[in-house]
């Protein structure tokens, strides 16, 4: 698209300021730099403006202005996404939802909350925690990521094995449609007349409009929680234990796997009590009633032992449990101990294919002369191979990208998916044909046309494109501005 002239830009800035107020618009290139990428720094693109609305009416007015000018626009939360989904693919507007971050209402009797999209995920659980409730989906970035971003990506987390992902917890959404109309999709009740548009909107990666209010379910905190650590000398045994647990009629709240490289990084960094010489460990969490908890834990222990675990222990107290989880949730940060950079992959496979696919992942990464650490949601079959590399080595990043594509192909071949929770965004748009036919994609495109006929709302995402307009690697990794300031880390 054509670059805006400076005169045009000044005029538009005034118009945007008239909508959101003088403190709500950025257009200085230095300031825009903060918004040039998300957590996947491989992709960068600069917007013309970043605007900070504080109401649905603001968002609607900004969207209508963008439509009038033919400017693309994209909503952005905390920018913790990992697929380039909130990048301003072709200039235009970034609409930051960070100033719309209120909890508008908590209705304990009906077990729901109404929140704004800029609210940080964990802050919702804090807001309802005193009364014994919480919001279940818990992405690893939950201390920073926003509910609006969770809606866009249909985010998961460790506990989604038992409790489901974002979509299972969303009842309704107030949405500014790409033409500026404000529409409610779903509502406060379990079902509303007609198609499940709230269900269709969740996970649409910001291409169907911008959510301005979100109605979510809140759950009672479980009466009891038990965390089991199973240690294995062979990765295959740990993989097999996952299906064995499931096949024994147990649905734990979470089953996470951590491999040796990751364990060692975590132990170097934090000392969480994982045995450094283990090939892999499973972190299994049960929650629910106090009655029967011991018996269920015993079944888990037995399943792990039968699968070949050399050691199985349960966390004795809350402190030990918190330490084990700290190791899991801080694993990404710990990779800094063993590598100057890494890139996190996200794929899903049927649980029974874990042993085979983990072997293939290791082979693929080794064939590219790289190392990989695995820490992932094994119970869901949701892999996160983290490919370690040195960005100063010429061509290293390109090899990472190639290995990632091969891993995605393996996931597709075994009947899996190319994304479990990070989304397609820019990163995987060209991988979509791995799992979807032209006919499948055509229906998705028609669905998009119904919401977003002009295509101005977050263009260039989800669907395969011949060529991308943004700068695509290999580029040397440089920390993101907010990363450099120590305000955020890559999850």
């Amino acid at each position: 698209m054509a670059t805006l002239t400076s005169g045009r830009k000044t005029a538009l800035r005034r118009e945007l300021e008239a909508i959101v107020g003088p403190g709500g618009v950025l257009s200085d290139p230095d300031e825009l730099l903060v918004y040039e990428s998300d957590g996947l720094t491989l992709f960068r693109a600069l917007a013309d403006f970043v605007v900070f609305p504080t109401s649905a009416e603001h968002v609607a007015a900004v969207v209508r202005l963008a439509g009038r000018e033919g400017l693309p626009f994209v909503a952005r939360g905390a920018g913790t996404g990992l697929s380039g989904g909130c990048l301003p693919a072709e200039g235009g507007l970034v609409i930051s939802m960070m100033r719309m971050n209120r909890v508008l209402e908590v209705d304990y009797e009906n077990q729901l909350a109404v929140v704004e999209p800029g609210l940080v995920n964990l802050h919702l659980s804090w807001a309802v925690g005193l009364k014994g409730y919480y919001y279940a989906p818990d992405p690893s970035s939950q201390q920073a990521c926003t509910l609006g971003g969770n809606i866009a990506n249909n985010s998961g987390g460790p506990h989604t094995l038992k409790y489901g992902v974002t979509t299972n917890h969303v009842l309704g959404l107030e949405v500014v449609m790409p033409d500026g109309e404000i529409v409610w999709l779903g509502g406060r009740t379990r079902a509303t007349p007609g198609y499940d548009l709230a269900g269709v909107f969740v996970g649409s990666e910001g291409t169907f409009g911008i959510a301005t209010k979100i109605v979510v379910r809140i759950l009672k905190k479980p009466q009891a929680v038990k965390t089991v650590l199973a240690v294995f000398d062979q990765v295959d045994h740990a993989s097999a234990a996952v299906s064995a647990i499931i096949a024994r009629g147990l649905v734990p709240a979470a089953v996470e796997m951590i491999d040796q490289l990751t364990i060692q990084a975590v132990e170097d960094a934090f000392g969480c009590g994982y045995p450094r010489d283990a090939a892999a460990a499973l972190l299994v969490e049960l929650d629910g009633l106090r009655v029967g908890m011991e018996a269920q834990a015993e079944r888990i222990v037995q399943a792990c032992r039968d699968a070949g675990a050399r050691e199985v222990r349960t966390a004795r107290d809350e402190a030990e449990r918190a330490l084990l989880w700290k190791g899991r949730k801080s694993a990404f940060g710990a990779y800094g101990r063993v590598s100057p950079a890494y890139m996190v992959m996200d794929g899903v496979i049927p649980r029974t294919k874990l042993p085979y696919v983990l072997r293939r992942v290791n082979e693929i990464v080794a064939a590219h002369g790289l190392r990989v650490g695995n820490v992932f949601h094994a119970g869901d079959g949701n892999l996160h191979p983290n490919i370690l590399y040195d960005p100063r080595v010429p061509g290293a990043e390109a090899r990472v990208v190639e290995a990632g594509a091969e891993i995605m192909k393996v996931c597709a071949e075994v009947g899996g998916s190319i994304s479990g929770e990070h989304g397609i965004g820019l990163e995987k748009a060209d991988f979509m044909p791995f799992i979807f036919s032209a006919a499948d994609l055509a229906v998705m495109q028609r669905l998009k046309n119904a919401f977003n006929p002009t295509g101005l709302c977050n263009p260039g995402k989800v669907f395969p494109t011949k060529k991308s307009c943004v700068e695509v690697g290999p580029v040397a990794y440089t920390p993101h501005a907010i990363e450099a300031k120590g305000l955020a880390q890559r999850f």
Binding site: N153, V183, V200, L289, R351, H377
Partner: protein, 447 residues
Amino acid sequence: MQDALLERLRAVLGPANVLTGVELSPYVVDGRTPEAAVFPGALEEVAAVIALCGQAEVPVVPWGGGTAASVGMPAARAGVVLGLRRLARLVEHEPGDLTVTVEAGVTITELQAALGNRGQWLSLDPADAERATLGGVLAANAAGPRCHLYGTARDLLIGVTVVTADAAVVKGGGKVVKNVAGYDLPKLFIGSYGTLGVIVEATLKLRPVPDAERLVALRFAGLKDAAAAVRALLASDLIPNAVELLDPTAAAALGAGEAGGALGLGSGAVLVVGFDGLPEQVEWQCAELARLAAPHGGRDATPLSSAAWPRLAAAVRDAFPVATAVMSFDVVPAQVAELMEQGAGVARARGFQTAWAAHAGVGVVSAALVSDREPRELGPVAGVLGEWREMARAGGGRATLERAPLAVKSQVPVWDDPGAAGRVMQRIKAQLDPKRILNPGRFVAGI
């Protein structure tokens, strides 16, 4: 019916799989007889039927077990019924994956039997499970009592194959339990009543069969007391899998099948709660339930037989030999008891008998009304139904007229107003079925 189309359908499917004339009586809906009923035996045959009907501009009405056939506005033209009953193969069930892929024409009972043999089940328990097909249950978004804990189709369906109006075979979602690649097409087809595509195959999340399960019924002086007990239950640590609130009429229908029966005689209300898990968990929760219901007047805690589950799912409908109208409501849980009480009051004032039941924890209410007057005197029935809908709407809820005589449907819209979202729905329909081949006129907003 164009003879040429019939001939082509017979050529593709074989004459035995194309019904016409008197054989069509099971497929009459709202007094309209379809032009033919066809039964493809393979996915490609489904596509061929849709292509042929599309070319001839004859509407296609997807048909599973016919259990939800009465739900919807009367079609302007009956069209061709496309029966899925022959597509009923279990495609893939790997217990270690806790997922199943199955063709859409399988009945819920058949599917549960196959899964149960391997210690697993689909946590979806709609009424009429022996007739309702999986595809129909998905298309109608049907659910039963256990939706309290396990949710509805939207929480279980992870992949779907549909044949679209242009006869394309399209897959959405996948076979893995967690998947955000592409738009969530499974959500689009759940509850779409066959207006966007014909569901031919589905992949679903499963659960292990619990070690133990029990239903317990408690009696209360009235709905308000029972509702207070529901509030206490939901705020407690207990994890019920079903929380059903029944008025005396619905409770009588439920109790009639029980040994010793007669649960609901006299006034009052009945709360039925289900628990599953380890035997000691079920035991403990039943005792806790009695303890926390007691301050609200809950008494006579009685375990029900496992045969009560399907009767529970159909308690309202079965309360009368033939109900004149059935309406269902989606409201917030806090509104349930008031809607039941006031709704029954309004009907009683006009001389009608009603039966009410609710999945009280999730706010899904159903009501049946019976009128013994002449069909031409249905004005008061429509009046009551209209008032019921207004009551639901006043609390932010919505009502669907599940079943009613045509004369009533012409006065009380089957579907509630979807608001501005209705326009988005119309655009989706126009994008996916521009020639309006699939179930035209039946659904919300003229879709």
